[in-house]
């Protein structure tokens, strides 16, 4: 019996080594498909775009041309339209995400406190998310229509001014923001609601017993505990807003003039209307760089939190 249990140390090491090797290769094998997808659909196009950004590439005048050094970067950096579109993107992102977060969280609290109809409300809230912006945008274009739109019809009925939602350059961007808020506030609300429902009850019961005010509970318990969820949804919405294209394409086509032309729309116009792939690739590289830097800063606290939780676990 004792003999059968005693295995020579060298054999133990070999078996352990083989198991370790096997596990390592197995894990690599698991990762390979994802890496291949990333390589083919993200890294190779990125490398190609990087290459094109250093070349002359007017598609309508032949294929990708000669190496031009940093000329395209200089041109893009001096392109006023590029910076205008960047500013439009910043304005849109800040406004839309702020409104969506505030309204979404407020709605989540309302639903969380509701006693009946939660399921129905949750189902209804999914509707704006279930259809693409390209489709719902068409409906909104008709809603916004100055002469035949429902919004102005009702405003007229109650004697309010009837704005030119998509034609007045002072409010056109706000019209796009309003559409985005309508579509994405439910997303924020649903995620925040899920976060609220997942919070443990004990701390809140204890706080109530101690006579803490609602405001104090919100400030010291609810929001700190919801912070990771809210932060995640904030990052997701910010990334999504920065690359806004479809709503602009359907509602305003970047107009009037260029007041609603976001970076991605300008990139599309440069690449697929003017076929200047060199400038478009250069803008895309700028765009990617900006997003990477922003994401690193934005995600760092979240990643730190996740890794500390993992190490605690």
């Amino acid at each position: 019996m004792s003999q059968s249990l005693s295995v020579p140390t060298s054999r133990q090491r070999t078996a352990a080594g083989q198991a370790a090797m096997s596990d390592r290769w197995f894990s690599i094998l698991l990762v390979v498909p994802a890496m291949v997808v990333i390589l083919v659909f993200a890294l190779l196009p990125l490398a190609y775009a990087l290459d094109v950004s250093f070349r002359f590439a007017d598609l309508t005048r032949g294929r990708i041309g000669d190496f031009v050094g940093l000329d395209n970067y200089r041109t893009v950096l001096h392109d006023k339209a590029f910076w205008d579109s960047a500013w439009v993107t910043v304005k849109f992102t800040l406004s839309a995400v702020f409104l969506e977060m505030v309204l979404g969280i407020a709605i989540a609290f309302l639903i969380h406190g509701a006693t009946v109809g939660k399921g129905v409300i949750r189902s209804l809230m999914i509707l704006p998310l279930a259809t693409s912006a390209a489709v719902t945008g068409l409906f909104w274009r008709y809603l916004y229509d100055t002469q035949f739109g429902l919004i102005n019809y009702f405003l007229g009925l109650i004697g309010l001014p009837e704005p030119n939602w998509l034609g007045d350059y002072t409010i056109a961007l706000w019209s796009v923001i309003l559409f985005d808020v309508w579509q994405w506030t439910p997303f924020v609300a649903l995620i925040a609601l899920a976060g609220l429902q997942a919070l443990p009850k004990e701390p809140f019961e204890a706080a109530e017993l101690d006579g803490a005010s609602t405001f104090r509970i919100l400030r010291t318990l609810t929001f700190p505990m919801l912070k990771p969820v809210l932060f995640l949804v904030l990052v997701l919405r910010t990334i999504d807003s920065v690359r806004l294209y479809d709503a602009v394409a359907v509602l305003t086509r970047g107009g009037p003039g260029t007041v609603t032309e976001t970076m991605t729309f300008y990139l599309y116009r440069t690449g697929l209307k003017l076929f200047r792939m060199d400038y478009a690739s250069t803008m895309a590289i700028f765009f990617l760089y900006a997003m990477l830097v922003a994401s690193l800063f934005a995600l760092r606290p979240l990643l730190t939190q996740f890794s500390s939780r993992a190490s605690e676990g």
Binding site: L59, R63, D145, F148, G167, D168, P256, L272, L274, F275
Partner: protein
């Protein structure tokens, strides 16, 4: 002998005419040569569907029609041409795209193909042919549809005695179809009224506007302005390949003046929006407007009680009778005379892709669709033909045909007035890119974001950027 010869020729002719049909009848589906036609989704293609069947009945060819939204057609076609994918055998080009496609070798010249079909080429309205089919001496395809601009108006308003009297009292001349842009402006101003005021002696329940404009974010504002710019003796591009800033500023200022008399929705609409305004009884007249929309405009007679529609050449046509130069650069010594006879002329061209695997069949298809029989059928369906023989067919001048072809006579007049006209915009290989960009500064000005001068300067700067300096003009 003579009768034998006659009989022989008759038999030969009958055999020749029956041959394609017989060949098609014998042709099994599997043997059909596939060709693909990329074209505009919507009305034009719907009307063409039966013509495609007609072509297939006479040829051992299967035509796959790819309907693409007008806003995406150019992009899709360029991408396929650059990639030499052969995805499209026959492409549909806007007038401003012809030079680019020809210059870059995207489409095949059809000069040799039409060498023995001169009569068919000659049937295309000459002005249209010059603008759409020819570039650097070669023929590049056939236009199958024209959206040449003219003037559409509410004739019932113009004929109303109360309105006539009020107009005469205010402007000291008779209310009639305008012959100058200044008169057009007066009419726009005259008919712009608030709800509660009267029109034809009846109180208006909603605001009424003097003119419908296409100032939305679409490439139509430049089409509206083209006629006006050209009538000033200018062009979007000078012979030196630059934008004439002063002339564009003037045309833009004229446009901004008219904006005061247009519905607020002018800033968001294109041609269909203007037609909706007309059919909703909101506007009295168009600016320089696509005449192919006549079948749409005439529906106003059904939707607005008492309405009667009229169509005419755009203003300035009759301002300087006697004619002079038709295509005139800004350096013309006779700009006033050059202001005669100018409206926006455009059409869709069918051409054959260089990467087509079956260019012969594709060219046959182009010739068929642009040919007399197919164009007659197209016109009966409400399409606006490009052939003189169709436009002048007496069958289309009858009162019964008015709702579909009532604009044909006006088109003939326009083509006649503008014989020999060319625009540098259509003769530069950068025309399509310029055309797809120019609405941005123009619309910015229309919306009040910038002034006319800034719009003209911005346009000049954009064009210079697109062409990398002065644009080459390849006549």
């Amino acid at each position: 002998m003579k009768s034998m010869l006659k009989q022989g020729l008759l038999v030969a002719a009958l055999t020749a005419s029956a041959a394609p049909a017989a060949m098609a009848a014998e042709c099994a589906d599997a043997d059909r040569v596939p060709i693909t036609w990329s074209t505009i989704a919507g009305f034009y293609t719907d009307a063409m569907a039966s013509l495609v069947s007609g072509f297939e009945a006479g040829h051992c060819v299967k035509v796959n029609v790819i309907n693409i939204d007008n806003s995406q057609l150019y992009n899709k076609q360029v991408i396929e041409m650059v990639g030499e994918t052969g995805a499209y055998d026959v492409v549909t080009l806007e007038t401003s795209e012809k030079a680019e496609f020809a210059e870059n070798g995207f489409i095949l010249p059809m000069t040799d193909y039409f060498a023995d079909k001169q009569a068919q080429l000659d049937d295309v309205a000459p002005t249209l042919a010059a603008l759409t089919t020819r570039y650097k001496g070669d023929v590049w395809g056939l236009p199958y549809y024209t959206y040449t601009a003219g003037y559409i108006y509410r004739a019932d308003l113009f004929d109303d005695p109360v309105e006539q009297e009020a107009f005469k009292k205010r402007f000291d001349y008779d209310l009639a179809v305008p012959t100058t842009w200044a008169q057009h402006h007066d009419i726009a101003e005259f008919f712009t009224r608030k709800a509660g005021e009267t029109l034809k002696g009846e109180a208006l329940t909603k605001d009424f506007y003097g003119v419908g404009l296409m100032a939305g974010p679409f490439p139509e504002i430049q089409d509206e302005m083209s006629g006006v710019l050209w009538s000033q003796g200018a062009d979007w591009l000078t012979d030196d390949g630059t934008v004439p800033v002063d002339a564009v500023e003037k045309a833009m200022n004229d446009y901004l003046e008219l904006m005061k008399y247009a519905p607020p929705a002018a800033l968001t609409v294109t041609y269909d929006g203007v037609m909706n305004q007309m059919k909703d009884g909101q506007i009295a007249q168009t600016y320089s407007f696509f005449l192919d929309q006549w079948p749409n405009a005439v529906q106003t007679e059904n939707t607005v009680p008492g309405a009667r529609m009229g169509v005419a050449e755009a203003p300035e046509k009759k301002a300087y009778i006697g004619g002079f130069l038709l295509a005139v650069s800004t350096s013309s010594a006779h700009p006033q005379e050059a202001m005669d006879f100018v409206a926006y002329i455009g059409g869709f061209l069918l051409a054959v892709s260089t990467s087509s695997a079956h260019p012969q069949e594709a060219m046959d298809f182009v010739a068929y669709i642009g040919g007399h029989d197919a164009q007659m059928e197209f016109a009966r369906a409400g399409g606006t033909s490009t052939l003189m023989s169709v436009l002048s067919d007496p069958g289309f001048a009858t009162p019964e045909s008015r709702t579909k072809t009532g604009h044909f006579a006006t088109l003939l007049e326009i083509f006649d007035s503008m014989k020999g006209f060319r625009s540098n915009l259509f003769d530069t290989p950068f025309g399509a890119k310029i055309y797809n960009t120019m609405q941005i500064p123009l619309q910015s000005a229309a919306a009040g974001q910038i002034n006319a001068r800034e719009a003209a300067e911005r346009l000049a700067s954009e064009v210079e950027k697109i062409c990398g300096g002065p644009c080459p003009i390849g006549k």
